[in-house]
């Protein structure tokens, strides 16, 4: 590999395939649906790959359980270099809290020594899109919502310093890996990082569905840290996320 001069993290999530869910008594039944990599995570990898070029070392961070490690390894086959699974002694319910999720990821980002973080703007399961902004807030980095326009990186290109970049799940994806890459990815080591996370203190009063948030706007790019954080909080309050 060429000399690394840029480190990036991709936040990866594994979700149930919504197009295959059963509807039982009017309710979506996800229990039998297959797991897959969230489209936003795959798009985030492509952004990370393009962003720093060949010299970028990309670490995938995920809370996915060991059973879904195989899916995460696909990101290794598609160009990521390192895979860290975050674990916690907390119970599953507490660990699913967005603040806990963000906190654990931030610890992973520090271990990876990343200078930029890429994540999907919203996942296909719940679509809250809370992780990116929270990670940015906890890191004290600007949060950038970016969208690929005609295959170019409009939003991310504006980011110079450390940032959390949330990307459009419908944006460009890495090409299909070949068998050799898959085979190598399955032989690569997967690190696991047990994190101590704060227990969730936040009460949620309401959540705006991802579809209502709109896409493609650069919300906070280039703003100073303090300004960015307060802006972020204002935005989150406006949207009644907190």
């Amino acid at each position: 590999m060429a000399t690394t001069h840029f480190r990036a993290c991709v936040l990866a999530k594994v979700v149930r395939r919504t197009d295959r869910m059963l509807v039982t008594m009017g309710e979506m039944d996800a229990s039998e649906a297959e797991w897959q990599l969230d489209a936003g995570s795959v798009a985030a990898l492509e952004w990370a790959r393009r962003f720093g070029g060949a010299a970028t070392e990309i670490t995938v961070l995920s809370w996915a359980p060991p059973e879904q490690e195989g899916l995460l390894r696909q990101l290794l086959a598609q160009g990521a270099h390192r895979l860290i699974r975050i674990t916690t002694p907390l119970g599953a319910e507490e660990a699913a809290d967005p603040l806990v999720v963000a906190d654990g990821l931030v610890q992973g980002i520090r271990v990876a020594g990343a200078e930029a973080v890429f994540c999907g703007s919203r996942s296909s399961d719940e679509g809250r899109g809370a992780t990116g902004p929270m990670v940015a807030a906890l890191l004290g980095w600007p949060f950038v919502e970016a969208e690929a326009a005609g295959g170019t990186q409009t939003g991310a290109a504006a980011v110079t310093g450390p940032a959390v970049v949330s990307v459009d799940p419908l944006g460009p994806k890495p090409g299909k890996p070949n068998f050799m890459a898959v085979s190598r990815a399955f032989k690569a080591p997967v690190e696991s990082l047990e994190v101590q996370v704060r227990r969730p203190q936040v009460q949620y009063t309401g959540i705006i569905p991802g579809t209502e948030r709109g896409r493609g706007r650069e919300v906070l790019a280039g703003t100073a840290l303090d300004e960015a954080l307060s802006l972020l909080l204002v935005r989150l309050r406006e949207r009644r996320v907190f």
Binding site: E69, G70, R73, Q74, K176, P177, N178, F179, M180, V182, S183, R184, F186, K187
Partner: protein, 383 residues
Amino acid sequence: MDFTIPQEYEILRKMVHDFVVERLDPISQKVEEEDEIPPEIIKEMAELGFFGLPFPEEYGGGAVSKLGYALFLEELGASSACFSNLIAPHVSLATSSVFIGGTEAQKQKYLPPMCAGEKLGAFALTEPNAGSDAANIETRAEKKGDKWILNGTKNWITNGSIADVVIVYALTDKNLRARGGITAFIVEKGFPGFRVGTVDVKMGLRGSHTAQLLFENCEVPEENVLGEVGMGFLTAMKVLDGGRIGLAAGAVGGAQRLLELSIQWANTRVQFGQPIANNQAIQWMLADMAMEIEAARLMTYKTAWKYDQGLKITRDAAMVKAFASEMACHVADKAVQIHGGIGYMREYPIERAYRDTRILKIYEGTNEIQRMIIARDLLKVGH
């Protein structure tokens, strides 16, 4: 006993499945009509790694086990047989000959371009007077100075007309024959005295080319003796053992596709005011197809697993080759029957599959020869 398919192979399987559905199925009819696989499709297959799956990474391979390779061919077999008939002889027979019988230098030289699909391989054993009786080959190789001179004719060599590298089995000692008298040579396209003869017109497998290869004082450098002089027959037999697993896997994949098409047709074709699937006669055909496919699939996986454990598989490979190829022919016949007239029409893939399936009982050792191998082993071992 754990029947779980490793996740890595599930992913490979899905990749092949997607490729079959998105890229191969849509062009199958065109390939049938034009008798040619488009070069861009071959390039895509090469990029995905189809040409080097079971070989170690250091030679540019995918380092996939025999089980992984069988799963790959099972998925690929679901499409038109010409595609697996391009890949399997290249991988299972030609490239495997280099891997199993070659020296380290030969592996370093030939495996990377063969695994990358840059050089296509063919395996040339059969001759006009030596089919089932492979040890009876007449192609001769004589040492002249630092070269070997090959003379003879090889028949019905898959990929022969388009191959860059042909593994040619020739007689180096008439008295020894199978016991050290047959040597394999790596012959490259362009070696003086090597040319392609007639390209055969076949019952099926359109898009896959089978040709006669002629060696007329063909000059082969000393370093192109595959492994050691006299080891050719042993290499060929080992290669064919492994190849039979691949053939069976393709048969399973093809039969599974025919079963699925038959189920769809049985559910949609209405006669006497109801789908034909409501008739027990049709249901039993479907059930028989499913039973045979499943048995062949399990035999294939088990033989592949034994191969991966380094266990002897000669009898298992012969059994699965014969069983799976006969299963595929039964299934193809029932698929035509369930489809009725439309199953006989060129416009529908059932007719093509029926023709393509028939070869499975003949090449890589006829099923009579497989039964000979099985019986010989049974009588030797006693169980």
